[in-house]
Amino acid sequence: MLTANLQHLDKDYDVVVVGGGPAGMAAALGAKETGAEKVLIVDREKEAGGILLQCIHPGFGLQHFREELTGPEYAERYKQQVLDAGIHVATDTYVLDIDQDKQVKLLSGTDGVRLINTKAAVLSMGARERTRGAIRTPGHRPAGILTAGLAQKFVNLMGYLPGNKAVILGSGDIGLIMARRLTLEGVEVKGVFEIMPHANGLNRNIVQCLHDYDIPLHLSTTVVDLQGRDRLEKITVAPVDSHFQPDLSKSWDIDCDTLLLSIGLIPENELTRRLKIRLDPVTQGAVVNSQMETSKDGVFVCGNVVHIHDLVDFVSAESELTGRNAGLYVTDQQPPGDNIRLVPGENVRYCVPHTISSDRTHTVYMRASQPMEESILRLGDVYEKKLRYVVPAEMINLKVRPRFLQNFHGETLKVDILPVDNT
């Protein structure tokens, strides 16, 4: 059932999922599979699908569906499954609060506030884009400066062009994709500027989004000034040194009316904080056990709200597992808890989940701090595997099997990524 009317909802649910993007939809389906009867997805947009709906380019689903899909196609396949499974979806609705007894306070523009109860909650609110404040660009405050994802929504869903002459700051994938997108819509894209000495996005996107359209990419360069009273008129850019200090003597001006920011994502954890759930300062998402359950009993998390993923396919896999565990929780079939804590070691920024159990197989996701050529991924002294290369932009996943841990009796396992010649 799909509804924007809160009066159509039940009073009690087994599982309430906050956020109907790819993570929320996969979690809702997972919960159904393991026995949750009444499942509700709440989304603040006018339909479920999340950010996939505006990602009209191909590149999704190669792992999960074994074929290459556009974002809307990937979302629609899931949406259909969600409706077929009898899951309720409340659209245009905001979750204001979840209290300690898992009473959920919903708000919608048409129906006001409604309280419902749930046995378990899945938080899948996703992430939001870093804005101008996060990088402290100096200069005026004119119109025409917006995040790349917002521009993507304007262009692809709402049918507005953000301007005529654009510059993109940050070489994340969304920025690269928007460079091509705006070009095809007739906007003159004057260049992509990246403060780091290397691009953040995938090489394939540099080729097909920039090279194909002769859009220049300026590395180790950033925006140092913005001019224009009402509307952006001009920006100044300058190369930076190895400490990211701009060299103003080499700066130059660019006429443009639009500046798109593609400078990273931050998990959107306001609800998680209200619930006083423990957060990991590195991922800025919740600390989770191997069932993706948080420090609050019966509250689960999945997707970009836990840690930023590079592929939606991984989000789907992680979230389905999360949902399955929420379903097991409400049907009193939850497996025993974890007995091993994972500790990020050498060149490992973080691991998710934070704990595992020695009697089940787990997929552990992690990110490296530094790029490295051929290296060895080590799990304590129980397991190791060779990696062809590691880069911080690409998530690493490791299957941890019970047999690795047969003879292990400790409580913590350190995870290291080491150069080959050091081992």
């Binding site: 006018k46 339909e47 709906l53 009209i56 380019h57 191909p58 590149g59 190669l62 556009t70 974002g71 809307p72 196609e73 979302a75 629609e76 262009v155 692809n156 869903l157 709402m158 049918g159 095809l184 819509e185 995938l202 090489n203 394939r204 540099i206 080729v207 097909q208 194909d212 590079d310 592929l311 690409e394």
Partner: protein, 134 residues
Amino acid sequence: MTTQQEEHTLSHYLCIGCPMGCRLEVEADDGEIVEVRGFSCQRGENYAKQEFVEPRRMVTTTVKINHSLWARIPVKTVDAIPKERVQDLCDALHRIQLEAPVEMGDVILEDALGTGINVVASRSMPRTAEMAKT
């Protein structure tokens, strides 16, 4: 050896087939491919050959749609078209206006620009009663 007729070339491409981004090399004599190297799968080999002969790209863009949930509907070519036709195709698609509802997979433009390739809707778009006012 006469350079004009027996030209030996090495061309380099970065595969856009998947996020791996393999570095591809095509060795050719006189415009005839001799060997393709660097791919990790069949997609990559095919891409390198195609890129050498005639680069092609998938096209995704949006089309105006009336009485619908959103103002634009995403569309895509079902297969890649010659790279230099991409902008022309986008321009042609900008001249189209659709009426909701549309189903995912509906053909939006048949035999786009004579390439033999159809453009289809990448999603279903319901008709919205409230929006019918406009």
